[in-house]
């Protein structure tokens, strides 16, 4: 992990309040693995914003991030223009365990702004000759992004909360229609992850978690998650954000 200056190569709205930004930096692009995140300094803000690495282009030396404009930090970030630079810590945290079982079938389950890290993961796993099935949930039709990109990796189901696009419902509603798979990877809001891990409790799986962060490097104990009832814990910023689905107590 380093502190680097990243240059904005492009920035565009790709869905409702959702921005895709391509950031150029040699070190970050050459070392990032799926599931890691960048801890971005947005000028005028005390705390950095953790944003997942959604894609990497090693030849172009770029990292793609996708973020939703929620509060003031992400709104400010959305106003950054091409050519401006961003101070980033990263690549941060531990990424997804990839395993080497090619030909296996992988289920990606993403909700909303939890979808981005799954894209670079899916792309990487596809390159390792795994079969990718994606189930992606969004609030409404206008929030949907990267559908085509996921379809290019394999079968893709889209659901929306209001049914305005794809099937109406939650990602868990379509899990039964998915053919058998070997392993799942999931990222999204906590209630979704709770439902997913509960309904897939017999399957091996990995989940990526979010928590409000201070340092982002493991020093401040802001982002802990209990691993048991006896005081055991992990730090999401350093030990995570990806955990074995059985490892942490949601």
């Amino acid at each position: 992990m380093k502190k680097e200056t990243m240059r904005i190569k492009s920035t565009k709205r790709i869905a409702l309040d959702t921005v895709e930004m391509v950031l150029e930096n040699n070190y970050m692009s050459q070392t990032a693995v799926p599931g890691q995140f960048l801890h971005l300094l947005v000028s005028g803000h005390t705390l950095r914003r953790p944003i997942s690495i959604a894609d990497v282009n090693k030849t172009e030396h770029t990292i793609t991030i996708l973020f939703k404009m929620l509060g003031s930090g992400t709104h400010d970030l959305a106003s950054y223009q091409v050519g401006m630079t961003i101070d980033a810590l990263g690549p941060s945290g531990n990424g997804f365990q990839l395993h080497n079982d090619n030909q296996s079938t992988i289920l990606l389950i993403g909700g909303g702004i939890g979808v981005p890290p799954l894209y670079y993961l899916g792309k990487t796993l596809a390159q390792l000759d795994m079969h990718i099935i994606s189930v992606l949930g969004f609030q409404t039709s206008k929030s949907v992004f990267y559908e085509e990109k996921f379809r290019a990796l394999g079968e893709t189901y889209i659901v929306t909360d209001d049914g305005s696009y794809g099937d109406q419902g939650f990602v868990t509603d379509v899990l039964h229609s998915v053919e058998s798979f070997d392993r799942y990877y999931s990222c999204g809001p906590v209630p979704m992850l709770q439902a997913v891990t509960a309904s897939l409790k017999d399957k091996p799986g990995y989940i990526s978690l979010e928590e409000r962060m201070g340092c982002g490097v493991g020093a401040c104990f802001a982002c802990v998650i209990p691993t048991d009832d006896a005081g055991g814990y992990k730090k999401i910023c350093k030990d995570g954000p990806v955990f074995d689905a059985q490892e942490v107590s949601l």
């Binding site: 705390l47 409000r212 201070g214 340092c215 490097v217 493991g218 020093a219 104990f221 802001a222 005081g231």
Partner: protein, 304 residues
């Protein structure tokens, strides 16, 4: 001669910059960014008698030019800290200041005594002011008599110099300072965080699971400067100043107000290199404002 050096009880500081307790863990993570031996000293994360998990999450929130935290003294307990962390930090050339906390005077004594047994801890920072400890810690921090009492007992429990860390959440900071000085404090460390709260509009409840948290960062700097300025005139023990430092000008402002050294907390989160950058920038800043050494600047802003 090194113009940044400052000598304080138990602490021969090669420069007056150290990370503040709780904002730097035990140094490991930041050692990936730079050589910790560069620091004037390190203030470790608070240690309690035994392991603590701390508060539920969320534990931090962002505020205008600041942040709230309610970590709740999470730490692996004093024994584990000595075994794992102090021994690790002993590899670096820097004085170690152990921040100690507890829910009872006995717990403070126990932690102080334990650190006393190691060769590598140079001073204690007595955290009587952690606003997030509900069990009892907080009263010590706002009552001069109780603060004096815990100071006295901790002084007896160990031979290490004791820096009492004062809470800004008081009507009369000078009364707190003079009480702990009279009780034997070797130095003061100020300020801890101001108690604050943020309400999360979507959920219509306090954002922090602990409801209240400690406000830190640039927002509180004027309060820190005022309190140090007031206290410096009434005590003869040195002050380690903190609260919102982000630039070398801020460091000089603390020195002028009466601090003999400073600690940097929240700013580490923005910029992990903040401490070495301040150390590098300080000589120029001193010179720009007409000082040859750190020592020269201490208390020079006090006009009475």
């Amino acid at each position: 001669m090194n113009n940044l050096a400052v000598d304080l009880p138990g602490l021969q500081l090669k420069n007056p910059i150290m990370p503040a307790s709780g904002c730097f863990g035990f140094g490991r993570e930041y050692s990936e960014f730079y050589d910790l031996s560069k620091l004037g000293a390190i203030m470790m994360k608070a240690a309690t008698g035994s392991e603590r998990f701390g508060n539920a999450t969320p534990r931090v929130a962002e505020t205008a030019s600041g942040m709230l935290n309610a970590i709740g003294l999470q730490n692996p307990g004093v024994e584990s800290i000595i075994e794992t962390e102090v021994s690790y930090l002993a590899n670096y050339e820097l004085p170690i200041i152990a921040n100690i906390a507890g829910s009872s005077i006995e717990e403070y004594e126990k932690v102080a005594a334990a650190f006393n047994e190691t060769d590598h801890v140079h001073a204690l920072e007595l955290n009587i002011s952690c606003p997030n400890v509900k069990e009892g810690g907080i009263q010590f921090g706002t009552d001069p008599k109780m603060a004096a009492n815990v100071t006295e007992r901790v002084k007896k429990a160990s031979n290490l110099p004791v820096y009492v860390k004062l809470s800004p959440n008081v009507s009369d900071i000078v009364a707190m300072a003079t009480a702990v000085e009279a009780a034997g404090a070797d130095g003061l460390s100020m300020i801890n965080t101001l108690t604050g709260m943020q309400i999360h509009l979507p959920s219509k409840r306090p954002l922090l699971a602990n409801q209240t948290g400690g406000l830190s960062g640039a927002a509180i700097k004027p309060v820190a400067i005022r309190m140090i300025y007031e206290v410096k005139q009434q005590v003869s023990i040195p002050i380690i100043g903190m609260g919102g430092i982000t630039t070398s000008e801020d460091v000089l402002e603390f020195l002028l107000a009466g601090a003999s050294a400073v600690a940097v907390g929240t700013a580490n989160f923005q910029n992990p290199f903040i401490c070495p950058e301040l150390i590098d920038a300080l000589p120029h800043t001193l010179k720009k404002y007409g000082f040859n050494t750190v020592q020269d600047a201490i208390g020079k802003g006090i006009t009475v």
